[in-house]
């Protein structure tokens, strides 16, 4: 099957249904066959040193064949991106051959069906994104580069529009979902490398992105960040712009999805072990962060929409500072007979509540502190319980003294815990969407406020610009 027509950028629901029918007919050896079919298209534009370096149009498909043979544990998955008969058959055989080598499972000849979990239908398709033409992307780049070039500065950046279709089976029901994702970011640097400013935003909807506003912000930050001075590492009051807050919170929100769960004694939400009952108590019901903060997710909210998975539902993780919900694996929930529980997922999208104080007001009310644009290089936490983390500031750091920005500062490495920061909050601003494009179908939007916090620990100077 060839798809060479240009408007057939994605597989349709009918295309996928037909593909699945062909695949199912090819299975041998009994058991069950399931498929997942992804098709995607991207339009990309990258620039550096004030000139576009590459414009691209790319597309691909991925067909995953899941074969579950009787008498074996689990399933085996083989993948291909070719849609002809023989390729599909080769893929089905590869999955069967692989599953035949899996551990035998003679005891469980009958696996009771999993109780159905709700699957949301996020409305994260935007025609504006899907129809942002090559020409329009070219215009964006020209408009964004011009002001930086006019001032003798160097602009580098990236614009991408992505559309994806995802066919899969959830609750024994066939689903076809489509979504779009777009991102625009840029870094403006001084030609001598003495300053750097950044701005960026991601969304499912291109109309939510204002490239000129981003360009102006990156330019202004670059100019204001030139010739930074060295400050002593130490504890500072920090004013974190929304992007910096989101960057810092990565490891924190990960505790709700990826990491070792509280019920097994892992992560920051495990409290103590009850030896008699042989279980871990969690911090559910206890105040864990500032009472002005509520952390929630609603997959139906287009600002927070992610790839739908069974068990995704509207959930408030933390309400007014109190830990209200934790996510569980399906097996644990079945074991504990939990009803209506959020399912663990590595994809954590979230909204963090805020307040009304603008960043300008935070600056005006600061005696001495640091204004941070964003953090970078944050990886796994140094300590799973306290979430102590290390990383760097980047693309704009300023000293605030007596209510005014006084000078740009050389970048720092910090060693701090987001949990600690969220307990030291002085002021909060209005939450806004941030730059969190994820990769391919791992979209993870977030809506985050700026905040001011006390005693943020910067441990060494990183004089990279």
């Amino acid at each position: 099957m060839t798809r060479s027509a240009d408007d057939a950028r994605l597989l349709s629901a009918a295309d996928c249904d037909a593909l699945v029918a062909r695949i199912e007919r090819l299975a041998r050896g009994g058991g069950a066959t399931e498929c997942d079919i992804i098709s995607w298209w991207t339009g990309e534009l990258r620039w550096g040193r004030n000139r576009v370096t590459l414009g691209s149009d790319r597309r691909d498909v991925s067909v995953g064949v899941h074969r579950r043979l009787p008498g074996r544990f689990g399933e085996a998955i083989a993948r291909t991106n070719q849609l002809d008969d023989v390729s599909l058959e080769a893929t089905v055989r590869a999955a069967e051959r692989s599953h035949a080598e899996a551990l035998p499972n003679a005891e469980l000849s009958f696996e009771p069906p999993q109780p159905p979990l709700p699957v949301p239908s996020p409305a994260i398709w935007s025609d504006s994104t899907f129809n942002l033409t090559t020409e329009a992307r070219g215009e964006v780049a020209r408009a964004v580069i011009a002001p930086a070039e006019a001032q003798g500065l160097l602009s580098a950046g990236y614009v991408e529009v992505l559309a994806m279709s995802f066919w899969h089976v959830a609750n024994r029901e066939r689903r076809y979902d489509r979504f779009t994702q777009t991102q625009c970011s840029m870094t403006v640097r001084d030609s001598q490398g003495m300053g750097s400013g950044w701005a960026g935003l991601s969304s499912y909807d291109w109309t939510k992105i204002d490239p000129s506003a981003l360009a102006e912000r990156a330019l202004q930050k670059c100019v204001a960040s030139r010739n930074p001075v060295a400050l002593e590492p130490g504890r500072y009051t920090v004013i974190l712009e929304p992007q910096a807050v989101a960057d810092l919170l990565e490891v924190f929100v990960g505790s709700f999805g990826r990491d070792t769960p509280a019920e097994l004694g892992g992560g920051p939400f495990a409290l103590s072990r009850n030896e008699a009952l042989q279980i871990w108590h969690s911090k559910l019901g206890l105040k864990v962060i500032d009472e002005r903060l509520t952390l929630s997710h609603n997959p139906a909210d287009p600002q927070l929409g992610i790839l739908p998975e069974p068990g995704q539902q509207s959930v408030t993780w933390i309400e007014n500072g109190v830990l209200t919900n934790l996510a569980y694996s399906r097996n644990y929930a079945l074991e504990k007979m939990l009803e209506d529980f959020p399912v663990r997922s590595p994809h954590v999208s979230y909204r963090l509540s805020g307040g009304q104080t603008s960043v300008e007001e935070m600056i005006a009310t600061t005696k001495r502190g640091l204004l941070v644009t964003r953090f970078w290089g944050i990886r796994d936490p140094l300590d799973g319980k306290s979430l102590l983390t290390t990383g760097l500031t980047r693309d704009g750091l300023w000293l605030v003294e007596n209510g005014k920005i006084t000078k740009p500062v050389k970048n720092f490495r910090f060693t701090e815990s987001p949990l600690f920061v969220l307990n030291q909050v002085e002021q909060l601003g209005v939450p806004v969407p941030v730059f969190r494009p994820g990769q391919m179908w791992n979209i993870t939007p977030a809506v985050v406020p700026p905040l001011k916090a006390r005693d943020f620990s910067f441990t060494s100077m990183a004089d990279a610009i």
Partner: protein, 542 residues
């Protein structure tokens, strides 16, 4: 919708292709593609003229649409026995602007569509300000083919043979005489992964070449617990390499495992002490030195990065005036000499021709501490033209063009790097013996990583095991230690290097680009001693 091919038809055409298929006959069987005949045909080996016909169709379409230069890659990637993917990517140059189009479809019609789309992408951006591309000249390869030599192609093996060996490693660890020496001894991770890629490259300059490339990687890590302390150690030679099953079989596995367990036993006898923050002369083993070299100098000498083309992604380089600094900037001490290549057998970046059809050369990056060159592709080599002419060096790309598959546009990626060993035959223990008071960092065959900043300037090293060295001996393991460093000072403080017999090669990946893409390369380095490296407690707040 095409009718399903009958078995007979398939077998008939498969036999015709079998003559050239060799190793592929044991693999499930080839995918089919539409080459312009009456219907689907069996996929021939990459050297088949039909593949070239397809490639040239894309070049022709690009030229007709207005490209001054065009290249196309067709790749077929085999991932163990669990996946096969095919891609085609066309890159074109119009008035100094690049355009790229890619898809999974190998048909003549798609070649034309991609050629035109790539030109459309380039032309749209060429409407902007002027941009010139100085393409360093090459002699286009005419119909070259290269198959990477491997001793044992894993795709021709019975998977049971691989499984048997991996299982035997686990059973070895379970032997009572080994288990007895610890409170607990178990396998943390074990696995073998392998891929093969067939790639065809064609350019509008008349170049055409095809290659078959392999990469294997493995992991075998063991955890030992005794007296409340634990240590994780792994077989050091399983990191990614351009090899087949010989990745395992070239070694005496039983002896290696025995050695590993003995070392773990000895390590657990050392007392554990807390961090004493300070500056110490530090010995690092080969794996640490290799990863350190890669993440400092390896990143900083990518010319496109140094000039700001990755500024919105991974960052820039502390070698921040590349055209001014090349030939004179002191990257490290006199003992530091680093060369690069894409030719060493087993090196992950090893190819016969890069993704621009260039035959890569072996070149010097750092000589006696001085920066002598950068990693380049055809366009970026042009930026160093004046320097090359002044130094009477060839004005040419070093062949660093690479991409994961044809679906991604080519970028300048790190080639294989080699840190020249010291002349004296000293090994890691001999280097430790030279320290009266210092630190030793050992990887024990496990993953090493450094947290670098966005100019590869300052870094934090937390992985591996840190030891206190007193009077030439490792006397204790340090709990919760890390090192903090600044690349120029670190490499200028290079005090000693292990001898030629101590150099080890490690395969690693590096990512760059927007969207991000990753390729593999290898770094060879001996153990090394660095002067006065700062040791800290990474968990201590300000």
């Amino acid at each position: 919708m095409k009718e399903r091919l009958t078995r007979r038809e398939l077998l008939k055409s498969a036999t015709a292709a079998a003559a050239g298929a060799t190793a592929l006959t044991l693999f499930p069987h080839p995918l089919l593609a539409h080459f312009g005949g009456a219907g689907l045909e069996p996929l021939p080996p990459i050297q088949d003229p039909k593949v070239k016909e397809l490639a040239l169709r894309a070049i022709e379409a690009s030229r007709s649409a207005g490209a001054s230069y065009a290249d196309v890659r067709l790749t077929h990637l085999y991932v163990r026995r669990l996946g096969e993917v095919m891609h085609v990517g066309v890159r074109t140059l119009v008035n100094g602007y690049w355009g790229f189009a890619a898809s999974p479809v190998w048909t003549p019609e798609e070649m034309v569509r991609l050629g035109r789309e790539a030109v459309h992408q380039a032309k749209t951006n060429a409407l902007g300000k002027e941009r010139t591309v100085e393409f360093t000249p090459i002699t286009p390869i005419a119909d070259g083919h290269w198959t990477m030599p491997v001793k044992r192609d894993p795709f021709t093996m019975d998977p049971a043979e691989i499984k048997d060996l991996l299982d035997s490693l686990v059973w070895y660890i379970r032997r009572p005489e080994l288990q007895r020496r610890f409170d607990e001894l178990s396998v943390a991770q074990s696995g073998y992964d392998y891929v093969m890629m067939e790639k065809a490259f064609a350019s509008s300059e008349g170049g055409y070449c095809t290659q078959r490339l392999y990469r294997s990687s493995g992991i075998f890590e063991v955890v030992g617990v005794r007296g409340g302390m634990n240590i994780t150690a792994g077989l050091d030679f399983l990191s990614p390499a351009a090899m087949g099953w010989e990745l395992y079989r070239d070694h005496d596995l039983q002896a290696s495992l025995g050695e590993l367990i003995d070392r773990m036993d000895a390590e657990l006898r050392l007392p554990v002490v807390p961090v004493e923050v300070g500056r110490y002369d530090t010995v690092m083993d080969a794996r640490n030195t290799a990863f350190l070299l890669d993440q400092t100098i390896g990143r900083a000498t990518e010319l496109d990065r140094a000039l700001g083309y990755e500024a919105n992604a991974g960052g820039t380089s502390y070698i921040n005036d590349p055209l001014g600094m090349v030939g004179s900037f002191q990257v490290g001490g006199e003992r530091l000499t680093v060369t690069a290549n894409r030719s060493e057998p087993g090196g992950c970046a090893t190819v016969k021709w890069d993704d621009e059809g260039v035959t890569p050369d072996e070149f010097s990056l750092v000589k006696a501490g001085v920066l002598t060159d950068f990693q380049t592709v055809r366009e970026s080599a042009g930026w160093l033209k004046d320097y090359y002419i002044k130094r009477q060096l060839a004005v040419r790309s070093h062949g660093c063009s690479n991409a994961p598959t044809a679906r991604e546009a080519q970028l300048s990626h790190t080639p294989n790097l080699v840190l020249s060993p010291g002349a004296e035959a000293q090994d890691f223990d001999a280097l430790v013996r030279t320290l009266k008071d210092g630190i030793a960092v050992m990887s024990h065959g496990t993953q090493i990583d450094f947290d670098m900043d966005f100019q590869s300037l300052t870094g934090l090293g937390m992985s591996g095991s840190f030891y206190r060295v007193k009077n030439g001996r490792r006397v204790a393991r340090i709990q919760g230690a890390a090192m903090l460093f600044r690349s120029p000072e670190l490499w200028k403080g290079l005090l000693a290097l292990g001898g030629p017999a101590t150099a080890r090669r490690y395969g690693m990946d590096s990512t760059k680009g927007e969207p991000v893409q990753g390729t593999f390369h290898s770094v060879t380095a001996p153990p090394a001693v660095f002067k006065q490296v700062t040791l800290i407690d990474p968990q201590r707040k300000a």
